[in-house]
Symmetry: C2
DNA sequence: CTAAATGCAAAGCATTTGCAAATAT
DNA sequence: ATATTTGCAAATGCTTTGCATTTAG
């Protein structure tokens, strides 16, 4: 992946820690700070939470990463991508992304509220297909 | 309002602190812990944050209250009401509720993901009508 | 070479817990 | 009368800050 260019684009130094953070987030899709810390320790036994927080924060500030707030869960972080909806499984905690055009909903909201809508954060929760299957066995 | 019955329904004791918490949340619509603490101190100068947290937690557990997670904001609390969407103004931080049927969106999501959807948390952010007006002056 | 990043320790907030005293039922 | 709640103080947990050292460009 070309994290290197992304980092350089924002004048952030390309450090091995940052590359690994981005790589883990890419692999996992969504991850919280603690899980990220545990995974990073495999490659960087002395990495500190301070480093992780600093990096997550600067990369969120530069919109390389996005923070995902999910009810009753620790914040998750993901690579910034095109607008999408989050789906969380309340059984297994798996989070999926789903791309769906919501311009319809957005116009309805603007009409009804007279707000000028700029952004959104949409999370649905339920049971994922795997857990549904396991339930019926 | 009939907070008394609601509390009794969940076998929670009707204390003046709880009534005031519910009354403030009702009045403000959405409030964070700090603001709630400041307002409560007017009537209960010795109230402690521990009491507030304990009450918010038990009332959330009993679904009397709901927690609202909004990007870049402290958690807000509201009285549990019929499903609705939250709209936050990025200029003035005002939060509005908007009731809109989203069954359409929900079926699309279920179709596309094979999840059985149970709940949702939808937050749109933008500029509220008042701030839009002030911007153009 | 120098500006930024890392990692440690300490500080700063937010939230929870334990417990004695007060209160609701 | 009893179980719950309150409010204090202490503890815990999460995140940030300061600073000396290291590293990227």
């Amino acid at each position: 992946m070309n994290y290197i260019e992304s980092l350089q684009q924002y004048k952030l130094k390309v450090t091995p820690q940052r590359l690994e953070i981005l790589d883990i987030i890419y692999q996992y899709g969504h991850i919280n700070i603690d899980d990220l810390y545990n995974l990073l320790q495999k490659k960087f036994p002395t990495i500190s939470l301070a480093t992780i927080y600093k990096n997550i924060n600067t990369m969120c500030d530069n919109l390389l990463l996005s923070e995902v707030k999910i009810p009753n869960k620790k914040n998750l972080y993901e690579l910034t991508k095109t607008e999408h909806i989050h789906l969380i499984c309340t059984k297994c905690d798996n989070v999926s992304d789903i791309e769906l055009d919501i311009s319809d909903l957005q116009s309805k909201i603007e009409l009804k509220s007279d707000y000028k809508v700029i952004d959104n954060s949409i999370v649905f929760s339920g049971i994922c297909p795997q857990c549904l299957k396991e339930n019926n066995e």
